[in-house]
C-alpha cells in the first residue's frame, strides 16, 4: 500500500525511520515512546514469535534494517534522495502489514520485497534511467576482457578456463564474502549495472527490461552476459582464488 501523505503518520514513527537530520529532531519523542506500539522489552536480536510485535518500536533494529535497505536502494537508483524516498515508503508500508510475521528473518525478507517494488516504481517513473549510448562505450571494455578469455578457435585459453569454486555455499554465510560481493557490484560500470540489477534484483523479465530501455532483446542479453562475466571474474579473483579452488 502506498501512503500518499506520509508526513501525517511520521509523528508516530521512531526516528530511525527518517534521515539523520530528522532523527535528531525526533530523538526526544522516541525516547518517550509516546503513541507507539506497546513495547515488550525486546533486546533487538530476538528471533522468536514475540519479536515482531516489538520491531516497530525498536529504533536500533529499524536503524539497522534501514541502513541495509538504503545501501541496496542507492546501488540501484544511484541517487540518495530517491533511494531515501523508496526506503521510507517501504518502511511505512511495512509498518502497516507487519502483524503477519513471526520472525525477524522472514520480516526482513518481506520488507525487502516491498522495497524492491518501490524501486521498480521509481525506475518506471523515470523518463530515462539508463544512458543507452554510454552502455555501448562501457560494453567495449567489458567485451575486450571477455574476448581475451578465448583463443582463436573460441575455446577457453589454457589459464582462463573457469575452475571449480570451492565451497560456494559456505561463502554465502560469511560477512567478508558479502563485502567482496558489494565491492564487485560497485565495480560494474554504472549503466551496465543498472540493466543488470533491473533483471537480477528487481526480477523484471528480460522483455520488460528491454522495453523500458528501448533496446533490442539481443542487446539486452549481451549486456546481461557482460555484467555476469565481469562479476564472476571479480569474485573469482577477489574471493575464490584465495579459497584454494
Amino acid at each position: 500500500m502506498i501512503l500518499r501523505n506520509p508526513t501525517v503518520r511520521i509523528v508516530r514513527l521512531p526516528a530511525a525511520l527518517m534521515g539523520p537530520s530528522a532523527a535528531g529532531r525526533m530523538a526526544t519523542r522516541v525516547r518517550s515512546r509516546d503513541g507507539i506500539v506497546p513495547h515488550a522489552g525486546s533486546d533487538g536480536t530476538a528471533e522468536g514469535g514475540d519479536g515482531v510485535q516489538d520491531w516497530r518500536s525498536d529504533s536500533l533494529y529499524i536503524a539497522e534494517i534501514r541502513r541495509d535497505m538504503l545501501r541496496f536502494a542507492v546501488l540501484q537508483l544511484r541517487d540518495s534522495q530517491s533511494a531515501e524516498d523508496a526506503v521510507q515508503e517501504a518502511l511505512l508500508a511495512a509498518f502497516d502489514g507487519a502483524d503477519r510475521f513471526s520472525g525477524r528473518s522472514a520480516l526482513k525478507t518481506w520488507v525487502f520485497s516491498i522495497l524492491r517494488n518501490k524501486i521498480v516504481d521509481a525506475i518506471r517513473q523515470r523518463t530515462r534511467t539508463v544512458n543507452v549510448s554510454a552502455l555501448g562505450a562501457e560494453g567495449d571494455s567489458l567485451d575486450e576482457s571477455f574476448e581475451a578469455l578465448f583463443d582463436d578457435k573460441a575455446h577457453w585459453q589454457h589459464d582462463t578456463a573457469p575452475g571449480q569454486w570451492a565451497r560456494p555455499d559456505e561463502a554465502l554465510e560469511q560477512q567478508q564474502f558479502w563485502e567482496v560481493f558489494d565491492a564487485c557490484l560497485d565495480h560494474l560500470p554504472e549503466n551496465t549495472a543498472r540493466v543488470f540489477m533491473m533483471r537480477e534484483f528487481l526480477e523484471l523479465d528480460t522483455d520488460e527490461v528491454c522495453r523500458e530501455l528501448g533496446i533490442s532483446a539481443g542487446n539486452c542479453h549481451v549486456i546481461l552476459h557482460r555484467a555476469r562475466n565481469a562479476l564472476r571474474r571479480c569474485l573469482d579473483g577477489g574471493w575464490f582464488a584465495g579459497e584454494g579452488a
Binding site: K108, A161, D182, N229
Partner: protein, 61 residues
C-alpha cells in the same frame, strides 16, 4: 559448439527459455567441457547470491 557460444547460452538460459536445439547442443558441449560446466555452476551461484542479496540476507541477521 565453441566455448564462447556455450558461455553466452549459459547466461541466456538465465533470462529466456532456450530452444530445444539450443538445449541439445549446449548439453552435449557441457558434457565434454569442464571449463564450460564450471562456468555454468558459477553463473548459477551468482544467481543464488544475487537473490539473497536482494532479500537483504547478506549477514547472519
Amino acid at each position: 559448439m565453441r566455448c564462447k557460444d556455450a558461455s553466452r547460452l549459459v547466461s541466456q538460459a538465465l533470462d529466456r527459455p532456450l530452444s530445444i536445439g539450443e538445449l541439445i547442443r549446449l548439453r552435449s558441449h557441457l558434457a565434454i567441457c569442464r571449463g564450460c560446466s564450471n562456468y555454468r555452476q558459477q553463473m548459477l551461484f551468482l544467481r543464488r547470491a544475487l537473490r539473497r542479496y536482494s532479500s537483504g540476507k547478506t549477514s547472519a541477521g
